[in-house]
Symmetry: C2
Subunit: 737 residues, 2 copies
């Protein structure tokens, strides 16, 4: 009989291993594999008791029961009376918790939760509670399961957790035809054609995954917007998704096409000051709320990259945003108005600009520094927006590059709540193939000090409202989710979705903590595995910066698809679409002079920040080519010349990838075969791509520096012409998949 | 302890149910749930013994071991010496089988297999064998597992199985950007961007699934071809796929863009008689074989729907096909040249043609009957093709309609091997949402008698070469596979992939047999479940015909995306893209007169076939409007007028869908929750769509018949204008997903 049991256990294990396709994300509830711990948990958790019922409590109960059944390998019964080991779950307003807390002040706000162990009426119990109405209780349940998944002690728990930012949102750049702009994980998970009749199980699992990390909003559609999503045909579909997400505390938002009144409304104009237009939006918004009573609001990309906007009618961004805000205000909806606007001042490629022919930065281009435009455009509008308008700002002033300094708008908009926009999908971070953990990038930006209100005015504290007391706060991440079996394509892409949610909830969490808990939930609690893989994750972003855009270089990738290196491109349709516009390599040096001698973009920052970067000799070298045009023979802190430092960075980036490869390949026995092989294959591709970036960039920049790649390094295996000739017409994320 | 085991078993079951996402297709190896049978199987199968080793034997062994371990819920060991219950597997040339069969003649050809039980050297054993080199042994292993999966007795097995058709091929209409033309299951499973470095596990499971049903070829790319797949960059990717598929007996084919010599070869012409062009193709083919030594050959769509072809240069289809065939011949490759050509004679919409205004079929259109074109074009070329050219013909003369008579080319090409082209993907069969089992459609065509060489010259016997002794035989199915978790989107779409493979192997299998074994493998062996669901499957295609295109109607779907009804469309770019061209409804009647009084398409068939259909009064009513323009008050066999019969058909189709819905919903306890819900939701959508088809078509045709829908029927819930106004710009399969 024992043998029989053993055989079944084996089979169970093998079936679990067989099914490790990544679909479950970090919500894996396999049996605790540490027998001592399992015994401890089983003793501590004998039953559960849910106080009351609501759609959110019901999904919380289902999650807790499924989770415990899997982790503890036994069914945990519901219990009406209080017994030792009972996990009592409910909202603060339930009779049990009213009685329990009596007059205690439990400060958990609308969405926070507490978990703690206590001796109550003679019984050792665990309590999980949150406020009424919102998803706090559910968040608490997920946190409790996480404690078990990550093998924490649950003997004495005392957790109070309250999100620092109110609206924690995923932005999907998903089109109605199911392609995903900058998506690298297959088609959109929104199967618009089959909605509303067919509810894909993915929608529920998407909601579970988001709720487990505290994400409470989703913008379903691409910022490059399609008015059709606002028609009845699509609102019926949107309503079904909202119904699925509601119990999980997730609100639905849509992108508003500014010219929708013309395209689907039959009006002749979309002028935001035209009463007919205003009225059309009011009615449209009222209609949306009949489908989705808790609709979150609009995200708008206006007058940017070909999208129409108020400036089309000679109006300001504030005029446009306020019109929508007025329509949404009666329903408590918000407008997130993107500051990513760079087509407001028509530019022409300067046909005389050939970086091989000039020896200094062309001032006419410097004057039009794209890095300055969002600030120039929005700073004058500060204070002119309605209360329910937030301006959504990308973390850096250009466009989600591997490294950028923080956008000067953070700290620059005293009267306007700002939404931080991070890009989870790896448009510029190796796309489908590179292992890059983004938490260090998010943290680098959030922890940066704007000095807006003196030292300690970090970007995080601007966003969470603690500096400027914004009435509404929000953070957004551009989703990396698609319909591939494992959601994100690269198994480690899941970590970035996870990290975004966790940081949105609590920006004080460290990248190391997040990597640790994600690895334990997603792969294994084995200490050797966790330590090795965490090291990989934590070094991965800096590694990528080294082999792609070291020392402050930026925007030197392929045109259109943004795949691979193309620092040589100088013929794109606008000056600021060209890599040569950004690196400005010439016979004297390389880098974009944004000091007061150059574009003076640096003037947009506080004096304390300026001081960090303005002086070539003291500027942090990770930003040196962002702010300075640096001579090839400039002496770096390492003692190397700039050119040699550039070589060193590119080569060390490739070396690090190889180290990561080796480290992962040694972990074969710690990971299920399917995911081990996936990551192994992808790391091999990443190594090839890193070499490609290194060789292509150095060979190209060498045509300016005229200096040799130090002989100790391996020689590029192709010449520059080879790299320049590579074409990828079907690279994904740019129309294809 | 017993209780403990029971708990584990329960958990195991729940974990299996939890994971029933359809990814495993019919290759589910869960524990046999009949204890008596399980005991019987365990006794009969004690060990396995593989004779020799090869890539194919190795995957066969892995499959057999995994399959038996799952089904028998215990590891079946390998055994070197012969014991009772041993399953001995190997090729005929292995010493064991040489010795076993001695001088027996085992007629299984290159790909057949035998499975039989025997007493040999005093031991009761099971033997599985096939010829050397090809996948016969693997096919035998899958068949053996199927016996267990479908709960057959294995006490006395004596199976000899040889495929009737040599090349059994899936055609993927997959584009290099990962969209799939007429695909309704997400993106292409070929992730070209990540190849060759990243081998998706799907590729292996695709190969396993195909091998399990005997499919031995795959055309990776869309017939609307892209020359880039023939470049080195893509051939490296193709080679990796071929490497994955080779052990499974699957050859890779590509589609050849006729103008590739210009587009990627730098030539000025693609004229097939130009020596430079011929030479380019020879070199290109030689190059392909360096990447894929067993490359299968080309599939070509030329001079059709905008694709270039030999006629562009004033040459014939034979000239074009022969040029490619000459390049492929030294490597034993074949050309499959599609007969689906209908743009060879430029047509214009007759602007005066308004079916509401004319009272008889316009002869100028009748004369250009698209149904005649493939035959007219190819019949004169019979005998002019090289030996390694096959002409690929769609089952019917128009385009994969819910019902068509067989194409007259079957039986019409004495000297040219024909490939049967079926469409598995449901372009015209309800696309993503309708449950339609296609085996009855396939069988209806294959079993039709062409009378080419007297009675019994069925289409099947034309294709398999038994009538005309074709040296090469082939059958192709246009794939319905995408990257959705369950491969085909609709869970029952899997049955069509399965049915195509099984029929391609043995066209004598009945639709009923195929449904039976698919259901048992894919869902359950429960007799009530199998009986009920089989009934659903077997009636499903006739049901769809009734609510879409009864009585021989055809091609009345939406323009472009082909989604939903649009019999009113008369403004498409070519006459024969318009539904009104096909149904020809007018005040007198409805239907396309293809008799000698009309387009005379019927003359393309044998006299015996003609006789079946030529006379309005005796024509099989399922084809009546295909061949005749029938007066509204014509008396049908039922005694009803044509109009009333049309109403009856449309209404009974909807009724049948409702019956199917009810039947399925009653099976809740027999199916895992995930797939039960999927099918339930999809059937609800199908019911809505059936009602939409019925109402839209009858309301439209009523504008001609001026007769009432009998009052006993439920009234249409919208008017015709409502249906005509519906728009679906992002319906999948037509650029979107």
């Amino acid at each position: 009989m024992k043998r029989y049991c053993f055989a079944i256990c084996l089979l169970l294990c093998s079936s679990i291993l067989f099914g490790e396709d990544g679909y479950r994300l970090w919500l894996r509830y396999d049996k605790i594999d540490d027998p001592t711990l399992l015994k401890e948990y089983r003793t501590a958790i004998s039953s559960i008791s849910f106080q009351g019922s609501s759609p959110t409590l019901d999904v919380a109960k289902k999650e807790l029961m499924n989770g415990l059944e899997g982790l503890l390998d036994k069914k945990i019964p519901e219990q009406k009376i209080l017994v030792d080991g009972c996990v009592v779950v409910g909202t603060l307003s339930s009779p049990f918790f009213q009685e329990y807390y009596k007059n205690d002040d439990v400060s958990i706000g609308r969405e926070g939760f507490t978990i703690h162990t206590a001796k109550y009426r003679g019984k050792n119990i665990t309590l999980i509670t949150g406020a009424d109405g919102d998803a706090g209780v559910l968040y608490g349940v997920f946190q409790f399961l996480r404690l078990l998944q990550t093998h924490q002690s649950i003997a004495k728990i005392s957790i109070i957790s309250v999100p620092k930012i109110q609206n924690r949102i995923l932005d999907h750049w998903d089109n109605l035809n199911r392609t995903v702009e900058r998506g690298y994980a297959g088609a959109s998970i929104w199967n618009w054609h089959l909605l509303p009749g067919y509810i894909d199980k993915r929608y529920v699992d998407y909601a579970r995954a988001n709720a487990s990390i505290g994400i409470n909003g989703t913008v379903l559609t691409n910022v490059s917007a399609n008015a059709l999503v606002l028609t009845r045909q699509y609102l019926e579909k949107v309503a079904e998704l909202a119904n699925v997400f509601r119990p999980y505390g997730i609100k639905v938002y849509l992108t508003a096409r500014f010219t929708a009144p013309i395209e689907i409304g039959g009006l002749k104009t979309a002028d935001p000051l035209d009463p007919a237009v205003q009225n059309w939006w009011k009615q449209k918004v009222d209609e949306i709320y009949t489908y989705v009573p808790d609709f979150g609001g609009f995200l708008v990309k206006a007058n940017s990259e070909g999208q129409p906007g108020p400036q089309t009618y000679g109006r300001t961004h504030a005029d446009g945003a306020n019109m929508l805000a007025d329509a949404l205000a009666p329903h408590k909806g918000i407008v997130m108005w993107r500051a990513f606007v760079y087509d407001v001042r028509p530019q022409k490629v300067n046909e005389n600009f050939d970086s091989h022919k000039v020896d200094s930065t062309a001032p006419n281009i410097a004057a039009s520094d794209r890095a300055k435009q969002a600030y120039d455009e929005f700073k004058p509008l500060d204070g002119k927006f309605r209360k329910n308008v937030l301006v959504q700002v990308k973390n850096g002033p250009i466009d989600f590059q591997p490294r950028e300094p923080f956008s000067p708008l953070f700290g620059g908009m005293e009267h306007t709540p700002l939404v931080m926009e991070f890009q989870i999908t790896q448009e510029y971070l190796g796309q489908a193939t590179n292992l890059v953990f983004e938490a260090p990038l998010f943290k680098e930006c959030l922890d940066a000090d704007t000095y807006a209100k003196g030292k300690g005015s970090t970007v995080a504290r601007m966003i969470d409202g603690s500096v400027e007391k914004y009435p509404t706060t929000a953070i957004a991440g551009v989703s990396n989710i698609g319909n591939e079996r494992n959601w994100t394509g690269h198994p480690f892409g899941q970590a970035n979705w996870y990290a975004f949610g966790r940081i949105a909830w609590d920006h004080d969490l460290s990248a190391e903590q997040i990597a640790d808990e994600w690895l334990r939930q997603t792969f294994s609690n084995d200490p050797h595995f966790v330590a090795s893989t965490k090291k990989i994750m934590l070094m991965s972003r800096e590694t990528l910066v080294s082999y792609m855009t070291p020392l402050g270089l930026h925007h030197i990738m392929g045109t259109g698809h943004h795949y691979g290196p193309a620092p040589w491109v100088s013929n794109a349709g606008r000056a600021d679409w060209n890599p040569v516009y950004y690196h400005r390599a010439d016979s004297l040096g390389i880098g974009f002079d944004r000091t007061s001698n150059g574009s003076n973009a640096i003037s947009q920052y506080s004096p304390e920040v300026r001081e960090q970067w303005d002086n070539l000799n003291t500027c942090n070298e990770k930003y040196i080519l962002w702010f300075h045009h640096v001579p090839w023979k400039f002496k770096m802190h390492s003692g190397r010349t700039l050119w040699d430092e550039l070589c060193y960075k590119y080569y060390s980036g490739v070396d690090s990838v190889r180290w990561i490869q080796k480290t992962w390949n040694d972990l074969k026995n710690y990971v299920d075969a399917e995911r081990f092989d996936q990551v192994k294959m992808l790391l091999a591709v990443q190594e090839k791509e890193a070499v490609w970036w290194r060789n292509a960039c150095l060979l190209y920049f060498q045509t300016f520096s005229k200096m040799p790649i130090p002989s100790k390094y391996e020689k590029p295996d192709h010449d520059l012409e080879y790299y320049e000739a590579l074409k990828f017409p079907y690279a994904p994320g740019n129309g294809g998949l």
